[in-house]
Each structure stands twice: as C-alpha cells, then as structure tokens.
Symmetry: D2
Subunit: 356 residues, 4 copies
C-alpha cells in the first residue's frame, strides 16, 4: 500500500536508499524446489551496473548479491527469499551541496513536501539504485519462465532521433543486443548511438531514448479481464521505472492514425494472427502471439552543467553538475525492462495456474 510492493501471488517488496546500508527486497510466492542460478543473477546485475562501458556512468559499484533466506541447499523453499546488495561506496560527503537544494526534475522537492524529511544522499529512496532489487527478482523470474519456454528480449530501439524502424523491429537478431554497449541490435545504429551519447556527455548534457521489448513463447490465457489486463499491468510496471514517460503495446500511438480494416489482426486457422498490432494481447489476455511493447525514457535530469534552481528556503541558487552520471539511461535500463516484464509474467502465470 505504501508503494514498495509489486505483484499478487509472485510479489516483490523492495527497500533501500542509494547511500544507506544496503538495497534489497523480499520475494514472496516463488515456487519451491527450484535450483537457483546465482551466477546468472550476478550477471544480470552486471548488465545494470554502472561503469560497465564507456557510455554509462563511471561510478564503481560491485553490486554483490547476498541471499538472506528462502534458499536451502541451493534450492528455493517456497518461503520468502530475502536478499541485499550492500552499498559499498558511501561517499556521502559528495552530496552535502544537495542537502537543502531541490534539483530540477528530480524527486527532491516532492519527497520533501510529502514526507517533511528525506535522505538526500544520491537521491535516497528515489535513486535508480532501487532497481537493483527488481533485477534480482526479475532474474529469478526469468530463470523460472525459461523453463516454461517464455523468453524475454529487450533492446534499445532509439536514442534521441536515432531509431530502429517498425520493420526492423520485426526481424531482430537477438544475439546482437549484448554485442554493443548501447544494446541496440543493429551495428550501424548502435555505433551511431554510442558516438552520439559520447558527444552529449562531453557537453554535460543528457538525452532520452526508448526500449522495445518482445516476449516469445507466452501461452494463451495470461492476464485478467477488466482492470488487471496484461498490458495494463505491464504498463504500470514500466511506468514505475525511473525516468519512464510513456508506454505502448503493439501498435501503440500509431494506432491513432490507423483504420480498423488495417489494424485488425486476422486469424490464421491455428489461432495465430497474420499481423500483430495487438501486441500479443486481446481483451487484456495473451493470445499466444509475441508480446511487444515500447517504453519511453526521458533524458536523465542530472546534468554536468550548472542550472538555476531553488533551495529549501525557496531562494534561487546555482546548482553545478558533480559526480558521475549517465548521459543516457536506456543501455542500463534494458535489463530493468526485462526484469519487470518477467515479474509481471510470472505473477500472471501463477494467477492462471490457480485455475488449471
């Protein structure tokens, strides 16, 4: 109810501030008797980790996962799986200049007004470091989903105006995604994006981007009618990720300018459809076609430029850029999108399973 829990049967509750003792969470409702691949979880964390490439923030964070409960002799027990990643790099002195300052387009002001008291170190609870916990739960969910034949692939499809076409998105070679540090599965565009991001960084600026996600192998029947539609939950999950401003399923906003006679996905005799403008969901329920959606990320609000802003006494102050920050968030967000997708799908899988 207070916002840090997600899911119904498969449920993640997260905790932790950027510069507190640790970030972590409790996973409830993961099936028992599952052999956990800890190495894989650590690899997923590495995909999110700062400092992994030349185009992301150069902060050093080891992000070592530690499980506190719920796994016995390597296998899940069906009871809550708690975990944490200890925050090693508490250079809180770095943030003294932000104690009484509200950074533009950050959560500083709203947290201060809502709670009257906030941890200002590195964004505190509003830091994207919270997403570590989502990646851990998502990695576990992915390990389970893969045994069911469900595969999730997210990728960067645009950075600024450099963008894959809809047509290109229909024919992605997934093996290319991790080949480029920007995680766009197209050599030419990937290199263009990378050099554009470097250029933006030099200017002390940042730029937006978007992530496309495709899920193959989803059976018919996941999702619930009315309010808990599959794409409504996916949308909520994506919009809950820091910096996300938009979500679309299947045809998305392009549907506005389409006719019904173009947009309708006609059936093949086996129940698959000839097109997939629906994005794999009809009436809120998966129809067995690939689930496809796109998520828009704004440019990171922290700039390496000086900006005019206000402090807690509502006086105007000059804010200078400091520290090490991402000029573009999407390369590191790919694994977060995949993780939230996995969490949503495993929850719906279990919800459906209750009735089989």
């Amino acid at each position: 109810m207070a916002g840090s829990s997600y899911g119904t049967l498969f449920k993640l509750t997260t905790f932790g501030e950027s510069h507190g003792y640790s970030v972590g969470g409790i996973i409830e409702g993961f099936p028992a008797g599952f052999l956990v691949d800890i190495e894989h979880i650590q690899q997923e964390l590495s995909r999110r980790r700062p400092g992994q490439s030349a185009i992301v923030t150069q902060r050093k964070e080891a992000d070592q996962i530690q499980f506190l409960s719920g796994i016995f002799e390597g296998k899940t027990t069906g009871t809550p799986i708690a975990f944490q990643v200890i925050n090693e790099n508490h250079k809180s002195g770095d943030y003294d200049h932000l104690k009484d300052v509200f950074r533009p387009s950050h959560a500083d002001y709203t947290y201060q007004q809502k709670y009257g008291h906030r941890d200002h170190l590195g964004g505190g609870r509003s830091s994207a470091r919270e997403t570590i916990s989502r990646v851990v739960a998502g990695a576990l969910a992915k390990q389970y989903l893969i045994t069911l034949g469900i595969e999730i692939h997210a990728m960067v499809d645009s950075v600024g105006s450099i963008s894959l076409t809809s047509q290109e998105l229909l024919n992605v070679d997934y093996s290319l995604i991790e080949k480029y540090s920007v995680r766009c599965p197209n050599e030419k565009l990937a290199l263009e994006m990378e050099s554009y991001i470097k250029e933006i960084r030099k200017k002390g600026d940042s730029v937006g981007g978007s992530i496309y996600c495709i899920v193959n192998g989803v059976p018919v029947g996941l999702g619930e009618p009315v309010f808990d539609k599959l794409h409504a939950e996916l949308g909520k999950a994506m919009l809950s990720i820091n910096a996300v401003k938009g979500f679309e399923i299947g045809s998305g906003f392009s549907a506005v300018n389409m006719l019904g006679s173009e947009h309708n996905d006609l059936f093949n005799p086996d129940g698959t459809t000839k097109t997939n403008f629906s994005g794999g969901v009809q009436g809120g329920i998966s129809n067995g076609m690939p689930i496809t959606f796109k998520t828009a990320f704004k440019p990171v609000a922290t700039l390496m430029q000086s900006q005019q802003t206000i402090n807690s006494e509502h006086k105007e102050v000059e804010l200078s850029g400091k520290g090490r920050h991402d000029p573009c968030v999407v390369p590191r967000a790919v694994v977060i999108v995949e993780s939230m997708t996995a969490i949503v799908l495993l929850d719906f899988w279990l919800r459906r399973n209750a009735y089989l």
Copy 2:
C-alpha cells in the same frame, strides 16, 4: 485478484455482461456523510451513452442508474455503495451468428481459450458496457474531488491524423469541449473530425484517436514512491480501458528526442516550475503543477464490412458486419478517461490523508 477490482482505499469492483441482467459495481471506501448528486451521475452516464450524437453508435440504451446500498437520506454512510444499470435491450438473437466465431482483434478467442466457456452476447464481460460502472464511480469521485479543488478535463486531441498541437493543448478553453459532439475543444478541428468520422462510418470502417487529460488543483504529495507512482497507476487505469494501446505522461514519447537541458523543468521560487514536461509528477509524486497525460485508442475492431475469420472449430468463415457500432471510440471515451482519473486521484488522496 481476478481483475475486476481497482484501488486500495477507494475501491471499485465491477460486474456485468453486455447482455446479462445488469452491469454495476460496489464502491468501497467513499467518505461518509457526502450528499450525492444523482442527477450529475446520470449526466455523466449520458456522456458515455450510445446514441447521443450523429457520430457515435445509434444503439438505444437508457442507462438508468439505481443505487442498492450505501446512501441513506441522500448521503453516503461510509459503507459499500452498490449500484446497477439494468440492461434493457437484450436482443440476444442479434448475436447468434457470433456464438462460435472469433471476431478479429476482439476478446472472443482469448476468453474462450482462458475460460473454456464464455458469454458471447455482445462481447459479454469484455464489452465496453462494463465502463458504465467506471463512470458511476468516477462521477462520485469527481463530486468529492471538486470539493477539494481538483478539476479534471479530458478531451479528444486527435482522430486519425487530425490533431491538436502541443501548443494548442497548453491553452485549451474547457468550455468548448462539450460543445462539439466529438469533444475536441477547437471548432475547426472538431468539425473536421466529425466529418471525417462520418465518412469512415459510411465506408463501414473505423478509425483511432487519442484523448488528452489535464488535472488542475492537485496538491503536492499524491502518489507513492517506487511501484505505485502516480503516473504508473494512471497508466494502468488508462490501459485498462477497452481499445487503449498507449499512455504517456507529460512529455511522453517526445522525451526520447529531447536533451536534459531542454526537458528539465526549472523551478520558480514558489516551487512551481517554468515548464511542465514532467506532467505534474516527479519521482511518482504530484508536484502541484497540472497533471497532463495522453491516451491512445485503436480503431474499433467491429467493422461494418465483411472480414475473413475463424470459428471455434478453427475453420475459416466469413464474418459480416452487423448491428450499430462506433466508427471512432474517443468521443464517448472522454468521460471514461475522466472517471478513471478521478478514481485514481481519490484513492491517492485518501492514501496520503492517512498520514496527515
């Protein structure tokens, strides 16, 4: 859990099929002692009602609200408010031809596969008639929010390629919205949209559209961190409406192609911001600026043309268009967008109130 409930403290659970006895719902958690304006609820239902103008479906449905509980001597009692609208127009014979047929881009196939048994009359539970219940709960929520100074205005901002510009959306005269049957607050565009919709209808086709919503008077502090961010819940609420394919808050998808130095909303000394790319939400919490978002609707799947499709024996059949349907859903969906917005905001209001 099974999908027909929405909200936490202010909660709506809906029931009903298009051609069952009635559609309705139970509202839990509405404040006690509130004098209900039933006339206003009925008016809101009229904004959703078929047959209200020349550009929507000409089906006749009176949609008379009946309250079953929770209101005593005109005032809410704090206990569940149950209501129904009896379905008068049970011409179930109209649907015999659909009993074993799966209409393209409808929920027929997914419901059949998920449940093994479905009410096929007029879409049954997947019919947009379910949104009657949302309008009732939304009308109540609006009546309460208005006493708090919170005003919600939704409007059609595009039909096909006919569209208001971002600049025009910044200066809307709300009094024009209801003046045109298409509910676009710009005379020239409204008339253009209306004639385009009529043309589409003549062809037996349908077209998409989008709805822009602005909420004024929201205090700082609504919304919860992490998963239950204000715009994440709004997104879920919008995506749960039939035919919605996309949602964006503030700058939305246009943020992809913006620089941080453009996108950051700089503060005025009073805590307001000079721009509002954030759409009134920072870190998932309202910042006191207007909340602005856009919702994309696909073209209605029911066409007055014949289409190729399959039946329950997975044989190809010809489906002919029959009945009376909307060529474009957005004019009638304006009140549904407002209603879901009101439901989300009242819930967050109460959640915040618990801590004041």
Copy 3:
C-alpha cells in the same frame, strides 16, 4: 480495505443494509465452467432465514436469490458473479424509536461516532442480514469443494450450559443435525436446548451458544506459513460473524491445562495422527486430518425487555423491546459458519493450486 471484502483469489465483496433496497455481493475468482445448483443456494438461504422454526425470530423474509452476472447458460464464466436479495419487508416505521437512540451492545454508537451518519433501520449495515451474502458465496464454494471431496459440517454444540461433551463431538451422526430445529445432533440435548430457548424467549431475554465445525476430506497443504495460517484465517472469518466472541482450533483453550506429552499428536505410519488436538492444522497448514474448531456466540443484544440506555444527545432514555428477534442466534448461524469455512477453504485451495 474498507472491510467489506474477504479473500484473495476467491473473493467476496458484500453490500447492503437491513432495510435498503437489497443485500448482495460480488464473487470474484470462482472457477469457470461450473454448473451452478441454484436450488441448493436457495436451500442454504432457508437454513439462515428467519421464521424457519418455533425457536427463531418470526419475521417473514423470503430471501429470494437473483444473479446479476457471471453465470451464462447455467454455468459460471470465470467473471464476477454478482447477486442480490431484494429486501421485501421495509417496515421502516418500526425503527423510528431507534433513530436517535444507541442500543446497548449494538453497533449504533460506534457507527455513529465513526461515520457521523448512519442508517439506523434495523441496524443498517451492521445487521446480520449482511450474512445472506456470505451464505450465497458459501453455498457456491461448498458446491465446488464437494467435487473435491471436502465436506463441511457445523452444528450447535452448546446453548447456555447445555452442551455436548468433547467425547460426543468425536462421534457425531451428521444426519441428525438438520433433524432438530436447534441443529444439535443429539436428540436429548436438542430437545432440552429447544425448550430452554423457548423459556428464555418468554422472559424477553436471550442466551449465548457455540457452534462446532468439522471439515472432512481436506488434503495436506492448505494454508500458508506465518501470517496467513489456515486457522488464523478461519479465526478471522468466524470472528467477523455478528455476535461471535471467541474461536478455538482443535484443543483450543483446553490446551492451556495440558502437558506436551498429552497434547502431541503422534503419527501413524501413513502420516495421519493418533489424536487430533491440532485440529487438522500444523504450522498453519492442513495435515490431512479433520479440521475442527469451535466458535462462541454471545446472547443477542436485542431484548424484549425494557433497558436503560442513552440517546444521541447523551441523555438517558428507556428503551423498550420491540419487533421479532432471535432469543438465541446459534441455530441460524450454523449455515453461516459453514459458509465462511467454505469461503476460506476454497481460497486456500486456489492459492495452493497456483503452485501445483
């Protein structure tokens, strides 16, 4: 959240006041494709109905069930099942004398203080008429559970000091329960209880009682660890019934005065236990033995005697007994105990099923 919903996967939300238009509810999460026996539901309502025998209230209430949604061609569709029972007997004039009076040991005072505004007619929302909705949902749950081999038998085991012994409870002939209007499966005690209740009624007084419930055929594994233990949920469900003051599982309060060496239920090789002081639950999870528990009901607060009380201006007033009321609530509460038990068990069944 506002108190009128119960359950997680199988969920009941109820509405309605004693003298409002109707009482009813929405059932979510009932499995699809189930052929509903409406006659059985009506019979269950008859077991709760006033006027069914000489020892209960002589009010006339037909309590005719009407389904509003969720059942198509006689079978459940998997979507919400809404229902109502219209309140025929609105003799609201009967209650004018209670408008500003707080009856002792009723909810009049607490509702008034909590909500500032209440429906005083026959107790309004706090009336036991609300339990009609529980009986409807419970009847459906029972119909499903019986197909799984789970049988629920509740019975009156004491009225005042007239009581079955623990030994007698181990050997009940279930066929005797409905034979006596008091629903105690022992001829001698049943007749004694009935004549005692009649005597109490003549005096215008009321008396307490208790209900014993045994569930046979429950598989191992229902219930969740820690907070959602099977007996904790059963306890909550029973304590939520009007007039209930106590709940005990298995040995219950008698365990206080037992030694571990007496109380431990030793295993048979097949996993059953030689004794059942656990009441069929160990560590919050069913162990395959019969689930046994007892629920204590206070004497009905409405007396046919005059009592001293206070009014809404906090002045002392004389309250005279009026109307037709139960001198002892347990005979009619047997079916309510069974219904809540069925609701709890079906919910846990589905929760377990999600992981099978």
Copy 4:
C-alpha cells in the same frame, strides 16, 4: 499472498529461517519524521530472547537489531524500513537427526508435503524465531501509539491450571508484570507458576498457558465493519503466533452461558459502558472502552523425552529430546502478543485517519 505479509497501510513482511543467515523484515507505511528509539526496540527483543531467565530456554542468542533502510539521521523517512537480526548460533549439526524425521505436532510434515523441500534446521521458516521480526515492527508501532495515548499491556494469566480470576484481571497493577520472570502480575501466582514450570522442565515435559491483553486509550472508531472487524483482525494476528490455539475478545467463551440481560453493556451518559463484556469493540469498531482479549497457547511440542514418530519414508522411529527448549512458551510470548496488537492497532489507526 504467500502468507508472510501482514497489514494494509502499516504493513510488515517478514523473512528468515531459524538457522539461515538472518531473520528480519520490511515495514511499509510507518509515518515519516518519527525519531526512533532503537534502545527500546532492543529491550523489547530482550523480552522475547531465550536465556533471559531460569524458566525459559537457555539457548544463547544476542538478537542484535540492524536497520538497513528507512531511517535517516535517526528519523523515519516514510519509505520502507528494512531490518535484520543475524543468526549467530548456526549449530546446524544439532539438527542432523531431524533431517528426515517428522516431529509430532510440529510443522515438519506439513511443510514437507506442501513444498517438497524444506529447511529442517531448527524448524526453518516455521521456527518461532520468525517472531523476532514481529517484535521489531511491534516495538516501532508501540512507540508511535504511545504518542497517541494508546497503551498495551499483555500478561500471563494462566499456566496449566494456575490462573488469575476474571475479577483479578479487572484490577491489574501493570508494574508487576515484568517483576516476575513468568510475567504474571500477582506475586503468589507468579511464584507458583514459576515453580510449576521448573517442575515440568525437570520431567522433560511442557505445559500450556494463556495471555491476557488490555489496551487502554483506544479512541472510538478503530476497526472496519463486516469482515475487517477490529477483533477479527486481532484474532487473526494472535492465531498467527506459533502455538496459539484460541482467541477470545471480552466475555469470549463465557458468553455462551450468559443471558443477554447480563451481557449487555449498559451506557453511561458519556458513552462509556458500565460493564465491558464487549471487550471494547461493538460491531467490529472500538467503542472507547479498554480492549481486552485472551489468547491460548498449547504446550510446546518439543519435549525432552523420547517419543515415537515417523520419518520421511513413513517408517516409525524413536525421537529423543535434544537441545534447549522452553517448557512453557507464554512468558516469552507476552511481548509477541503486545507486538501483534500494536501492529493491528496502528494499521487501523491509519485506515481511520484516511477519512478524518
């Protein structure tokens, strides 16, 4: 949903096994800006801790609390408060003899059947060590409630047949509770209970007991109608504590043998009542009188005697008592009862607050 979460607005999710890395939890929804008294939390843990007196288990466990998030500069931030107590005493070798054995009246058998895989060390997740997390959350809740004038006092009122009378419970000197290691506020009975427990321990046996709890200073209006009645939630909370077999509010089971004319709590003009058989709750809502309830605990299942039992191959085996265990659980459970009471009340406080 999987059972390890409790509460709605104020919510506790716990994790941890007896011999895993740590036990702990996440507290959501605690008000922001509250100065936490960590020393007090540690003291409350000491009241639960083994080895605190001659009549409890002599295991050595320091139970040092560590906060991981949610507290900044000594004050709560309104975000999740995570905490853990590291399990220092991993003598897992102690439990090798239990790996394949099901102890009578323990959760070994039911966990094994439900999950197929369990942590058998010291009971794993079913160990009462889980209640450490409840005490931490309860201590925080208590600190907050005391600022609202709400005081909770639990005490041992019976061990075996040694018992305080109802009359004595009406006049308790709270300062005596902690004076005796058995936590019964009556010198004569306390000493009797202590010597009885020592005697039982010598025999390698265990004995049951009960705990009485009184809450003073509760305002009118806490609790919700119908399913979430105040005493129904208290009942669930108590029944979720290990070894609890029964719960009663106010008159409880003694109401069975009372007349309405005796049991009704007549009002004083100020709205208080002359008697309190209701236990401070009417219609599920607090009426301003003290909340009084009793909880029954079974004798501990672990005996220092040999017992006949079965192993995982369903063969009969001899189980010998080993380790250090409580002969009677109630002295250490007093603080757990208080903690769960505090958790329930703070949750209802916030739920009511949402509407003030």
